[in-house]
């Protein structure tokens, strides 16, 4: 729906501000959209739409508002809308086994685990496995685990963003992690670790 005949409503300063905003937040918004949607095309659509919604509301935005958390909330809601509009999107059952590209037979240890959990990012192959396990999660569980473990939100913020009770956040997150563990058992060692 392009309206090329409509003169642009925004002045040069605003457009410059928008471009700067995209520059600043695009990576996180896009990554979050990708983790939820599981593919580049949908992630790009979600990111675009999220930014456009912010820009359309630009003149009524409270300057002290947290733009970033608003953006992430928009992405989350757009993602949920997208799933509602497209019920045919393939969704595996929560108990369906996942075959990994590596065949699921190979047991790999996390090489850099000894250096601390946040020491380094996972490699490409591991990323693909984790992403596949994420997309196989039920969207309700996926949204919670992405907001919590990837975006680092507190339970209360997640409850507010998704409009669900705190107890539901707690139980969904636990279920999501347990399901992910079952599917990613080849990446998660079973040996007992020292508990801090």
């Amino acid at each position: 729906m392009t309206r090329s005949n409509t003169p642009p409503r925004y002045n040069r300063d605003e457009i410059a501000a928008f471009e700067a905003l995209v520059g600043r937040y695009a990576q996180r918004v896009y990554t979050m959209a990708y983790r939820m949607a599981g593919n580049d095309a949908d992630a790009k659509d979600l990111a675009q739409e999220a930014f456009l919604r912010v820009f359309r509301a630009w003149r009524s935005i409270d300057p002290s508002a947290h733009l970033d958390s608003w953006l992430y909330r928009i992405v989350t809601n757009l993602f949920i809308d997208m799933l509602r509009r497209r019920p045919r999107v393939r969704m595996e059952s929560l108990d369906a086994p996942v075959t990994t590209r590596s065949g699921g037979e190979i047991v790999r240890e996390i090489a850099d685990d000894r250096a601390g959990p946040e020491a380094d990012v996972v490699d490409q192959e591991m990323e693909a496995d984790v992403q596949q396990a994420l997309v196989a999660l039920h969207p309700d569980l996926r949204a919670v685990v992405v907001l919590s473990d990837i975006e680092g939100y507190a339970y209360e913020e997640i409850a507010e963003t998704l409009g669900i009770p705190l107890g539901t956040v707690k139980s969904r997150l636990h279920r999501a992690r347990k399901t992910l563990h079952t599917r990613l058992s080849h990446l998660v060692p079973h040996r007992l670790e020292k508990i801090p």
Partner: protein, 170 residues
Amino acid sequence: MTHARLQRQLSAYLDGELAPAEADEVRTHLAGCTACREELSRLQHVKSLLQRLPERSVPQDLWAAIHPRLGSPPTATVESLGEVFRRMLRRPALALGAAVLIVALVAVPLVRGRLERLRAGEIGADLFVREHALASADDPLSDRAYLGLLIGDANLALAGTPREESQADR
């Protein structure tokens, strides 16, 4: 707390989202329960795996795709109409159903109204009512407001027929 109930708290414990008393209870249980310690360790690994996912590289043309769409009218009504239209395109069967319903909702009262008017024109006791009923039956849309009055009047003439009755009485 039972073992099973405690185990369900482990994620929240890991995230530091339990109340101090609950966290104490979990901590005490963990000291004596190998299964729960192992479970906690697994949950921690899953969390760490997710935390260590890399950022994705942003498509080069993201801003280029957003920029031309900035000029779209931001008014809520235009936005929602566009959304409705898009939804109609996505679900043609539903849109067709809605269209048929709308046509029926408009057409049925129109046809019925016209019949009522013609009947009122035939049987109306009052010359003004008859004339007006016939005129508005030809062009019902020009006289929607009159419809209620007309039907009321026609009914009055039909149901009451006070003049006929009084004539019969005579």
